[in-house]
């Protein structure tokens, strides 16, 4: 049942949050990383909205950092994956691996028409 709670896009965003780490995981770099990796353009607002949703679900938490002069003395909100989030990610991956294993064509016989 857990899989339904994490959409594909949400999963990707969470993974990127994990990859970027505690220094860089806020909406703007996340959107840039997403664009780089998928080749799809994405608005900061869309990323932000997803992060907000993930936070409500308890998969990530966030905190405002201290201000830096780079963005006109404005603070940024850094996202970190929670323990629950990590578990959900893991479960999601394991679930999919399980599915792939059960798929008969997995062992090299990839013939969909058969």
């Amino acid at each position: 049942m857990i899989e339904t709670r994490l959409g594909d896009f949400e999963e990707t965003v969470m993974l990127i949050v994990g990859i970027l780490g505690e220094e860089e995981a806020y909406a703007f770099p996340i959107s840039k990383a997403f664009e780089k990796r998928t080749g799809r353009a994405i608005s900061i607002g869309a990323i932000h909205s997803t992060l907000d949703r993930l936070e409500t679900k308890g998969f990530v938490r966030s905190a405002l950092t201290s201000a830096t002069s780079k963005r006109g003395d404005r603070r940024k909100r850094i996202f970190v994956i929670t323990a629950l989030g990590k578990r959900v990610l893991k479960e999601s991956m394991e679930f999919k691996v399980q599915l792939w294993k059960e798929y008969p064509a997995f062992a090299g016989k990839l013939g969909f028409s058969e």
């Binding site: 703007f28 607002g45 405002l64 006109g72 404005r74 603070r75």
Partner: protein, 869 residues
């Protein structure tokens, strides 16, 4: 360069702030700025800005949008009741403001309502016909001496010509005789009814629907009557098959059709005869040159694939091809005049459409919008002016726990209530004013009380106007922080009154333009009225429908009436002096330039014409019974004499109608056409035959009613049952000013209302200012200021605004009026003092209005205003 552009578009940021949740603002603005800088480094500034805007818009997501603080869900009717009750209390407390708001709005809305009804009435003219969009009248541009005239009449064979050789473009074609009164005889009863003769194409083209009978087939003397006419003629008897007499012929009623819609081109067509019969009656076939005279109308309806423009081009030379070389010089160009333009755009100048009624429709529509706008300006100005007072109230309400959303609803319910009351007053006002307006505008409009559209419109209007006018207090005042207000540090700020001042300037500029406009229209009418007419218009009576019997008793009638003192002189003439009958281009003289093609207006009259109308002989002499040779004499007007190109024209010979005429005199131009039109060259002939009109110069020493009665007594026995009807020439002449006078009266009323509304507004504002500066006035008085100094102090601001308005309004009014006056050949020159006078007038009214409060405030004992602190 980077530095300069490093700031993202401010407007976008501001927009973002208006909707973004407050707690998100810092991080989001930061992120977007970083993104912007990133884009700047990787692309052009333009793309970066564009992307910034895009990012802002993409933040319009449910999670990010600020939520209005939810009021706990105990919305109940009690709450709204309380809103409206406090709103009413507020009105009662500020009676003056409430009155100004409501009365100003009510007047504005009433004016807008009346004008929109009028505009609707005008633009819906003729739309009752189902083929409205596809019908066109064939009319022609005629070139004579470099000037292009547009004539709506065409020669009669044109209908067949178009049908045979250009028929592909048209579905229906019909020649139509003029709508003209005819005397109809039914069993010795005589009636005068207007109607026309047409071809069968007319019936489907103009939706002629039969109530009884069938469309005429073969017999040309079958006639159709309208339902109302049949009722008048035959009552409850069956009209079908009845015989009626008209124009000396007998007709058989073949069908009864539904009356044409009111307010449409054919509304006074009460019978439809057949063209075939008309052609025989008027001996059309016997004309020696049927392509020359233009005496008939031709209507067409386009075929499905055709359009007016290309059809106009195809038929252009249809008449030209049939003309002999002399007439071909006039280069008649045919074209189609579409039905939607008949009523609204029927004026032509130099062969091009110049407009017509549509100009007045636009003018009044604009006036209506402005008057309504001015009323709304009052409403807004007064509410912003009072905002400082209301701010305290907001502070207290917030302190005791009001939500912002509740305050917004409160302010809106207040303004909607005000507008609602104003609308009800406006409806009453409209109902009261409509009869007056109808009389002035010669209309017959009623408020559609039972129409749900009206009530729906009223409801929508009150909400829309209420929200518009109430938006400032609702959104601005409700956002005030209570601490600031209650501590007393809240000030509307220096610039808060700037928009208010601009609005006042707009109001007074509009008022000034309207005043100047009204005065200019009035001046133009006076100019037309003061124009020398070339004859004495007062005390002339004309009787139409003169029969042969009257003509035969000319001398007896004249002698009797002169001897009993009713009249001084009489004459028989082909047209009353206020109109013309026909024109001729076939007038020659020795030395006439062969290229000159000129239409002379042709008048025919008896010997006494000149003496009756009292024209002024400039050269030579009048017709006289003492000269037997006068039967082949003519008199010219000044304009015609000019065309002869000779200094002394008396004694010259004119050739026309295969005969020679000696010019015996030249008279001063008699203005017979429109009062602003140039006088056309005219030729006066003597006539021995019967003419259509008899004109009488009443004896000034005898009461008019008595004279007319005695004229009727003497003339009527010879009329052989024709109805005796008479006109006063001066009344006919006055009627020619009808259009302009109507516009002038209406414009005057609207201008007056506009000024009144503006003054209401400034009255309210000045009361507010006086109240606000009460303490200042007190201190100044204590320090020794006198009344006049205070008066100047307080009036100065308003006077300045009105002066600016005058400066803004004058050039606008000048341009608009010059444009309007180009439509008149005989026009007044706009005097410079008009603009000054209008500005000074507005200024005087303003000073008077403002002084009321100013003087009152300045006279208060300072002890009273200063004791409270």
């Amino acid at each position: 360069m980077k530095k300069q552009n490093a700031i993202p578009p401010r407007t976008a940021t501001r927009l973002l702030r208006t909707f973004l949740r407050d707690d998100l603002e810092e991080e989001v603005v930061g992120d977007l700025k970083e993104n912007f800088e990133y884009d700047l480094e990787n692309g052009t500034p333009f793309r970066a800005k564009l992307n910034y805007w895009k990012q802002v818009f993409l933040y319009l997501r449910p999670f990010a949008i600020r939520k209005l603080k939810r009021t706990p869900t105990y919305y109940s009717t009690a709450m709204y009741k309380s809103y409206f009750r406090t709103a009413l209390q507020n009105m009662v407390k500020n009676k003056l403001h409430a009155c100004i708001n409501i009365s100003g709005l009510a007047i504005g809305i009433a004016v807008a309502m009346i004008i929109s009804m009028w505009v609707y009435d005008e633009i819906s003219y003729n739309t009752q016909y189902s083929n409205y969009e596809r019908i066109g009248q064939v009319i022609q541009n005629i070139t004579a001496n470099g000037e292009v005239d547009t004539w709506s009449n065409v020669p009669w064979p044109l209908g067949n010509e178009i049908r045979q050789n250009y028929g592909a473009d048209f579905r229906y074609i019909s020649m139509v005789s003029h709508v003209w009164p005819h005397t109809i005889t039914i069993e010795k009863e005589k009636y005068s009814k207007t109607g026309l003769f047409c071809e069968p194409g007319f019936y489907p083209m103009f939706d002629v629907t039969l109530v009884k009978g069938t469309f005429p087939a073969k017999d040309p003397s079958v006639i159709m009557l309208s339902e109302s006419t049949a009722k008048v003629f035959f009552g409850n008897r069956d009209p079908i098959g009845q015989v009626i007499g008209m124009d000396g012929q007998s007709f058989q009623v073949g069908a009864v059709y539904k009356d044409f819609p009111l307010r449409s081109k054919w509304s006074d067509v009460f019978f439809l005869g057949q063209w075939a019969k008309y052609s025989v009656m008027s001996e059309l076939e016997k004309m020696d040159d049927p392509w020359r005279p233009n005496g008939f109308e031709l209507y067409t309806m386009l075929a499905d694939h055709a359009d007016f423009e290309s059809a106009s081009i195809r038929i252009r030379d249809a008449r030209l091809k049939k003309l002999n070389p002399t007439l071909a010089k006039k280069k008649p160009e045919l074209f189609l005049h579409p039905m939607p333009d008949w009523h609204l755009r029927a004026e032509f100048n130099d062969g091009k459409k110049t407009g017509g009624l549509i100009q007045y429709v636009w003018m009044f529509a604009i006036v209506g919008v402005f008057v309504l706008l001015m009323a709304c300006i009052n409403f807004m100005n007064l509410s912003t002016a009072r905002s400082e007072k209301r701010a305290k109230e907001v502070g207290i309400r917030k302190t005791v726990g009001s939500y912002r959303s509740q305050l917004i609803t409160r302010f809106f319910s207040e303004s909607i209530l005000t507008v609602g009351i104003a609308l009800l007053f406006a409806l009453v006002l409209t109902q009261l004013l409509l009869p007056v307006f109808n009389r002035l505008a010669e209309k017959n409009m009623v408020l559609p009380w039972s129409n749900p559209m009206l009530w729906g419109g009223v409801l929508i209007a009150s909400v829309v106007l209420g929200v518009l006018a109430g938006s400032y207090p609702a959104f601005y005042l409700s956002s005030i922080r209570p601490v600031a207000v209650l501590k007393g540090s809240f000030r509307a700020g220096k610039n808060a009154s700037v928009p208010r001042k601009i609005l006042v300037v707009i109001q007074f500029s509009v008022s000034a333009v309207m005043i100047i406009g009204t005065a200019a229209v009035f001046l133009q009418i006076q100019h037309g009225k003061n124009r020398p007419l070339g004859y004495n218009v007062n005390g002339l009576v004309t009787v139409s429908g003169i029969t042969k019997d009257v003509h035969d008793h000319y001398d007896v009638i004249r002698k009797t009436l002169i001897e009993n003192g009713s009249i001084v002189e009489l004459t028989e003439c082909i047209a009353p002096t206020t109109g013309s009958w026909g024109s001729s281009s076939r007038i020659d003289w020795n030395g006439k330039d062969p290229d000159l093609s000129i239409d002379f207006m042709v008048f025919e009259a008896s010997y006494e014409y000149g003496k009756t109308i009292q024209w002024e002989i400039l050269q030579g002499r009048d017709f006289s019974r003492d000269f037997p040779s006068d039967s082949s004499a003519v008199i010219l007007n000044e304009e015609a004499a000019k065309y002869l190109g000779k200094k002394e024209v008396v004694g010259e010979t004119l050739r026309t109608r295969d005969a020679e005429f000696e010019i015996i005199g030249v008279v001063r131009n008699v203005v017979f056409a429109g009062p602003y039109d140039p006088v056309r060259p005219s030729v006066y002939f003597l006539s021995r035959g019967e003419l259509n009109f008899m004109t009488f110069r009443l004896n000034p020493g005898k009461p008019v009613a008595e004279s007319v009665a005695s004229i009727e007594a003497v003339v009527k026995p010879h009329m052989k049952g024709e109805p005796f009807s008479y006109h006063f020439i001066d009344a006919d002449q006055a009627r020619k000013f009808g259009n302009e006078e109507r516009v002038s009266t209406l414009a005057g009323i609207f201008a007056g209302l506009a000024v009144f509304i503006s003054c209401l507004g400034i009255f309210g504002l000045s009361s507010f200012v006086a109240e606000q500066r009460m303490k200042e006035i007190g201190v100044r008085k204590v320090l020794g200021a006198n009344l006049s100094q205070l008066w100047i102090l307080l009036s100065r601001d308003f006077v300045l605004l009105v002066v600016i308005s005058g400066i803004v309004a004058s050039p606008i009014a000048y341009v608009v009026l010059e444009e309007w006056l180009t439509g008149y050949q005989y026009r007044v020159a706009l005097p410079w003092w008009l603009f000054i006078a209008a500005s000074i007038g507005t200024l005087a009214i303003t000073v008077l209005t403002v002084s009321w409060h100013v003087v009152r405030a300045a006279r208060i004992n300072p002890a009273q205003t200063l004791k409270s602190e």
